[in-house]
């Protein structure tokens, strides 16, 4: 190792040390725990056996939970993309001297606790909430609509939470497109829509992809929103982990479920990185 490398490692060592201590070590510990045995008395005994893994792998219930989580995460991601792209486009194209202010406003809700922001949806979507009260007052409906404690309210809560991540990724991508390319397309006879479809959209795809990947991973691993806004039909994998570890005190099974979720999402990130590149995400946060 030359002197320059040694200095680089020395500078990196606090970050690497923190990662090793606070991320890698706990994950490894969880992985080790997944092989332990839980006795009938509720004690966890160190062991190396695959009983917990086989029990989970052969239990349809857990796969149903994983599918439920991924399904809601996919719908959430699509909703974020549908709402986030036009917003990001607006932000990137608007001629406004203080664009930073708009971006600041985008992240303003982050100043309030995530739980409070999620709870606020109860007052918006509930039977006596703002939406139902307004619709009943206007005579549009007679009975309150059932908008709370179901998949719809979970998706609303997740979109609200994740939208800024989508917008900022797409915005960075759109902002980086050379405007001369769009002008050239128009000069060569493309309509505005054709220019968007043939030039702008393809060039902004890496940002859109990065936003989708980030939203999906965060939504699939989300726990608080489904817990607060979900109803009896909301089946979310992180909730199963919570129940295994907290309610049943079955930590080895909870560890297996945690590792499965980690591997599933890790696989997704790996596939994304193979075809797109994680650098698009880093770029968004570097701005």
């Amino acid at each position: 190792m030359n002197r320059q490398n040694a200095r680089a490692y020395a500078l990196l060592s606090p970050a690497l040390g923190s990662l090793a201590l606070f991320l890698v070590a706990p994950v490894l510990f969880i992985a080790v725990y997944s092989f332990w045995i839980r006795t009938a008395e509720g004690l966890d005994i160190p062991a190396f056996q695959f009983g917990n893994w086989i029990a989970v792998a052969t239990d349809y219930y857990y796969w149903l939970g994983l599918w439920g989580s991924f399904k809601l995460a996919l719908v959430t991601t699509m909703a974020c993309a549908a709402v986030g792209y036009p917003t990001a486009y607006f932000l990137a194209r608007i001629r406004f001297s203080n664009k930073a202010l708009l971006l600041f406003l985008l992240f303003l809700p982050f100043w309030i606790s995530y739980i409070i922001r999620t709870m606020a949806w109860i007052s918006v979507l509930g039977r006596t909430g703002a939406v139902n009260t307004a619709l009943i007052s206007l005579g549009i409906i007679d009975e309150p609509l059932k908008m709370l404690y179901n998949d719809f309210s979970v998706i609303m809560g997740l979109v609200y939470f994740l939208l800024p991540y989508m917008i900022i990724n797409v915005y960075v991508s759109l902002d980086g497109i050379d405007r001369n390319l769009e002008a050239s397309a128009r000069t060569l006879g493309c309509s505005a829509w054709q220019t968007f479809r043939e030039v702008t959209l393809p060039l902004s795809l890496p940002g859109l992809g990065a936003g989708c990947m980030l939203c999906f991973v965060l939504a699939a691993g989300s726990y608080v929103t489904p817990r607060l806004l979900g109803g009896p039909d909301t089946l979310f994998f992180p909730d199963l982990i919570y129940e295994a570890i907290i309610s049943q005190l079955d930590w080895p099974t909870g560890a297996v479920l945690s590792v499965i979720l980690l591997l599933s999402l890790g696989l997704l990130v790996g596939v994304y990185n193979r075809f797109m590149s994680l650098s698009d995400i880093y770029r968004s946060f570097a701005r």
Binding site: G42, Y61, T128, L240
Partner: protein, 385 residues
């Protein structure tokens, strides 16, 4: 001066403060103790750890909301004033969550907490997480209802691991605007009435669900013979439910905003709703619910003297009644020995006789034996599996 009791460090400090020993002597004592640990370890280790670790605070964990507020306003300031020991508060949503935290913690990290019911008492006692109490340190125990003390003692081979503090009931809460008192007399069966589909919430607890399911199917809740029928009833009921709530605060929120008009609930939380102007009825007869006893438990590894002092203060009539009024659960004080306030006497679930003849108490052994199977089954049913 000896090093043989828990208060050695305080005594040293006191002696130093009074001028009986010099600063050099004080440091000398501590240095010798530290050296003893280094050389010998073992028995001296404990002595020195105790000597060095003066108790400055104890941790108290409760249910949060109005329950914690009642302790915070009435007991903790008096305790700190009397002992100089600060009370650090924590809260938990349910006992499962707290049990998981205690299991993962080092002994002594958590100290005193509000244990709910004989079943929860047993869950901490059985794996050795709780510490036996020295009853001689708590003279106010004599003011408590003997039946409540016995309820805990019998679960732990005659020794007391928690002091009965209050009692409450789980029953059925209903909004009187939509459901009459007569209709509610149907007991647990009303929770299966199709009329209330989409207007009902239930407590997300395997115990409460199994209890109500067995009542609905005409079985003894603590001696179920046909489990399949009980769980089938819960499965059917699931289609009627808007939300399975997980905390008392969530229950209050759902009922007060009329998100639901019917739910099972806890007597104290129903009292809170009534006091705040909501016309909520409550039925907790034998065919609609059960009773439980809350206690103040001390966890193993805690500073026992301080925790016992705190508990003794909490069961002092003046403080205990004030907390009862604050948290809306009747205290375990014996009405024949202590004059209770009118507010306490009017609380839902209050038994003026103190004999609890009309109550059905939970059986710790039954729930402990069945907990693993029941929990797993209920969690799957609640998720539609």
């Amino acid at each position: 001066m000896t090093f043989g009791d828990d208060k050695k460090y305080e005594r040293l400090l006191e002696a130093y403060g009074n001028g009986d020993i010099s600063r050099r002597q004080l440091m000398g004592f501590l240095t010798v103790a530290a050296a003893a640990v280094g050389v010998v370890g073992g028995p001296f280790g404990k002595l020195t750890r105790d000597a060095l670790a003066a108790v400055e605070q104890v941790r108290f964990d409760g249910w949060g909301g109005i329950v914690s507020e009642a302790f915070r306003n009435n007991a903790f300031p008096a305790f700190t004033e009397k002992t100089g020991v600060k009370v650090v508060e924590g809260e938990f949503g349910d006992t499962e969550e707290f049990l998981a935290l205690v299991k993962a913690a080092q002994p002594g990290e958590y100290n005193t907490f509000l244990v709910s019911g004989a079943y929860d008492y047993y869950r901490f006692y059985k794996p050795g997480l709780a510490a036996p109490l020295n009853e001689a340190n708590m003279p106010n125990l004599q003011l408590l209802l003997p039946a409540t003390l016995e309820a805990f003692r019998k679960e732990s081979e005659g020794k007391l691991y928690a002091v009965p503090f209050d009692y409450g009931t789980t029953g059925i809460a209903y909004n009187r605007k939509y459901i009459s008192d007569d209709e509610a007399k149907a007991g647990a069966k009303i929770l299966w009435d199709e009329k209330y589909k989409g207007k009902m919430a239930l407590y997300d607890s395997f115990q409460t669900r199994a209890w109500m399911g067995s009542l609905y199917t005409g079985q003894d809740p603590q001696g179920v013979t046909d489990q399949a029928a009980m769980w089938d009833a819960c499965r059917t009921q699931r289609d009627l439910v808007v939300k399975y709530w997980t905390s008392g605060q969530e229950f209050i929120d759902l009922m007060s905003k009329e998100e639901v008009i019917l739910s099972d609930g806890w007597s104290g939380r129903v009292a809170y709703l009534q006091q705040n102007g909501h016309d909520i009825g409550f039925i907790d007869t034998k065919d609609a619910g059960f009773a439980w006893l809350e206690g103040l438990m001390v966890l193993a590894g805690s500073p026992m003297n301080e925790c016992e002092q705190l508990i003794n203060l909490c069961i002092e009539p003046k403080i205990s009644i004030a907390i009862a009024e604050g948290q809306n659960y009747p205290p375990s004080l014996d009405p024949n020995k202590v004059e209770l306030s009118e507010k306490v006497k009017s609380l839902p679930g209050f038994d003026p006789t103190g004999k609890f003849e009309n109550f059905v108490w939970e059986s710790a052994q039954y729930w402990f034996t069945n907990q693993d199977a029941y929990k797993k089954q209920w969690e799957r049913i609640s998720k539609g599996a």
